[in-house]
Symmetry: C2
C-alpha cells in the first residue's frame, strides 16, 4: 500500500481502537511495507493528532514494543467545548418546574455526547480505569461515550432488578433531593472484585444518587477512582455529600419567577 493510503488506513485504525496495543510487524504485514516506512507513518499521524488536540501515539521500543493511541483532548479544546455548553444551557426557556433544567436535546445529540465523553476520558485517562459505571437512564449515553475513549466496558446500575441479568446485589439509599428511600441493583456477573471504577452521571444536586452508587460499588470492593458529572446544581440549602468529583458545568441562581439562570464552567476548569 502506498504511504498516502496507509495514512488514511492508520488514522482510522487508531481512532477506532484507542488504547489498543499494536505491534509494528502486524502493520508491516497487513499494509505490505517496511518497518521504517510504518515508523515514519506513525510520526506523521502522531504530529497531526497532537496538532489537532486529539491526543497522541504512544510508542514503546524494544522486543515487546509497539504503539497505542491515547485520546487526550487538549485542555484548551475541552474548556472551549465547556463554554459552548454553558452558553447553550443558559437559555431561560430551559427552566423547568422545581428548578430543573431541560437538557434532553443536548443529551440526545450523539455528537455532543461524544464530546462530553471525550472530555471526561481525557481527564481520567491516567487513572487506569477498568470500567465506567452509571445509573439508568440519562447518564447511560455519557458513560458509553467516556468508556469508548477509555476502551473499557460500561456497567449500568438499575433502580429495578431485571430477570435478564441473573442474580444481583442491591442496596437502599436516601435520595438527596427527594429524601425518598430508593433501591439500586447491580448484577453479580457485571463487575469483578477490586476493579478501578469511574462513575459518570448527567446531573448532581445533593449527591445522594452518587453516594448510593459508591456504597453499592463498595459491595464489589471496587475502587472509585473518579466521578464525572455533566452538570452540578449549586444548592445552598443542602450540603453536598460527595466532595471529590469533576463537573463540566455548574448551574446556579435558578430564578423561576424572573426566568433567569446562571450556568458557568464547573470545577473541571479549575483544577489543572
Amino acid at each position: 500500500m502506498k504511504r498516502s493510503n496507509r495514512l488514511v488506513y492508520l488514522s482510522n485504525f487508531f481512532l477506532e481502537n484507542p488504547w489498543e496495543h499494536s505491534q509494528l510487524p502486524q502493520f508491516v504485514d497487513s499494509l505490505n511495507t517496511t518497518k521504517a516506512s510504518i515508523s515514519e507513518d506513525l510520526d506523521i499521524v502522531d504530529t497531526v493528532f497532537r496538532n489537532e488536540g486529539l491526543g497522541y501515539l504512544k510508542r514503546v521500543t524494544g522486543a515487546a514494543g509497539g504503539v497505542k493511541y491515547i485520546p487526550e483532548f487538549s485542555l484548551e479544546k475541552s474548556n472551549q467545548f465547556i463554554q459552548e455548553l454553558c452558553d447553550m444551557l443558559e437559555d431561560p426557556v430551559r427552566i423547568l418546574p422545581g428548578g430543573y433544567l431541560y437538557m434532553s436535546d443536548i443529551l440526545g445529540d450523539p455528537r455532543k455526547v461524544r464530546e462530553i465523553g471525550r472530555v471526561f476520558a481525557s481527564k481520567f485517562s491516567r487513572l487506569n480505569i477498568d470500567v465506567v459505571v452509571t445509573v439508568a437512564t440519562k447518564g447511560i449515553p455519557l458513560a458509553y461515550a467516556t468508556a469508548s475513549f477509555l476502551n473499557v466496558p460500561v456497567v449500568i446500575v438499575r433502580r429495578d432488578p431485571k430477570v435478564t441479568e441473573g442474580s444481583s446485589v442491591s442496596i437502599n439509599y436516601v435520595s438527596g433531593s427527594s429524601r425518598k428511600i430508593q433501591t439500586m441493583v447491580l448484577p453479580k456477573r457485571s463487575l469483578q472484585e477490586g476493579a478501578n471504577v469511574c462513575i459518570i452521571d448527567d446531573f448532581m444536586k445533593a449527591g445522594g444518587t452518587i453516594t448510593g452508587m459508591i456504597n453499592l460499588l463498595g459491595e464489589f470492593d471496587a475502587n472509585v477512582k473518579a466521578i464525572g458529572v455533566l452538570a452540578e446544581a449549586d444548592d445552598e440549602e443542602e450540603e453536598r455529600v460527595v466532595d471529590s468529583y469533576t463537573s463540566l458545568v455548574k448551574i446556579s441562581n435558578v430564578d423561576i419567577k424572573h426566568k433567569q439562570i446562571d450556568v458557568n464552567p464547573g470545577n473541571f476548569s479549575n483544577e489543572i
Copy 2:
C-alpha cells in the same frame, strides 16, 4: 499543510462527521492548499474507505458542491460481525431463568455496541431518518451508536415520566411477554411532527414493546421507517405483532434443562 498531514486530518474529520456536507473551499482555507490538491486527497480517502468497507465520500459538483462521508459498512463485514455475535451468544452459560439470555457483557462493550450501530445505520442509511427512538434502558447504547453513524438525534421513550423533561404524552400498552399493562412516556418537546423515525431495541419477543412505541409515535404523527432489533427470540407460542423489522440475530430452541440454545443470523442477512 503537506499532503500526508492533510490525509490524517481529513480522515479524522470525515470519521467524526458522517453525513456532514462540507464545501471544498473550507478545506482549501483551513489546510492552506489548492482545490486540485484537496480533490486528490478526497480521492485517496474515498479509495481507502471503500477498500476497508467503511463507506465512501459522496461528491457533488457545481456551485453548491462539496463532499460528505456516507458510513456504509459493507454487507460482507456486517455479516461477518453478525456471525461473531452468534458464536458469542450461543454459549449455554448465558441461559437465564425464563429462557432469557445474558447479553449485558456484549451490550456493555462500547466497541461491540458501536459495530452494532454501524450495521444498523448502514442498512437504514438511505431512508432519510430524522431521529432514532428507543425505550429505556438496554436499547439506549445501541440507539446512540446507530444515531452517531446516521448523524441524527436520539429520543428515549421512558416507562416513567420525569419532572426534568416538561410536559409529555403517554400511552398504555400490553406487554407481549408478561401480558401486563405498562406505560410509555415521551416528552412533548422531544419529537417534531412528521419526523422519519427509526426504532432501535436490544431484544424482541412477541413485539409488544415495539408495538407500544409505534402507537406512541403515532401520537406525534411520526413515520416509522425502520425497526432494528439486536436479537429476536423465536417464540412459537406467541404470534408476533410486529412484522416489518430487521434483526441481527435470532435465538431459538432455548432448552434450559439440557443447557442448549441456537443462535443464528437474523433476517438482516436474508434480505439483501
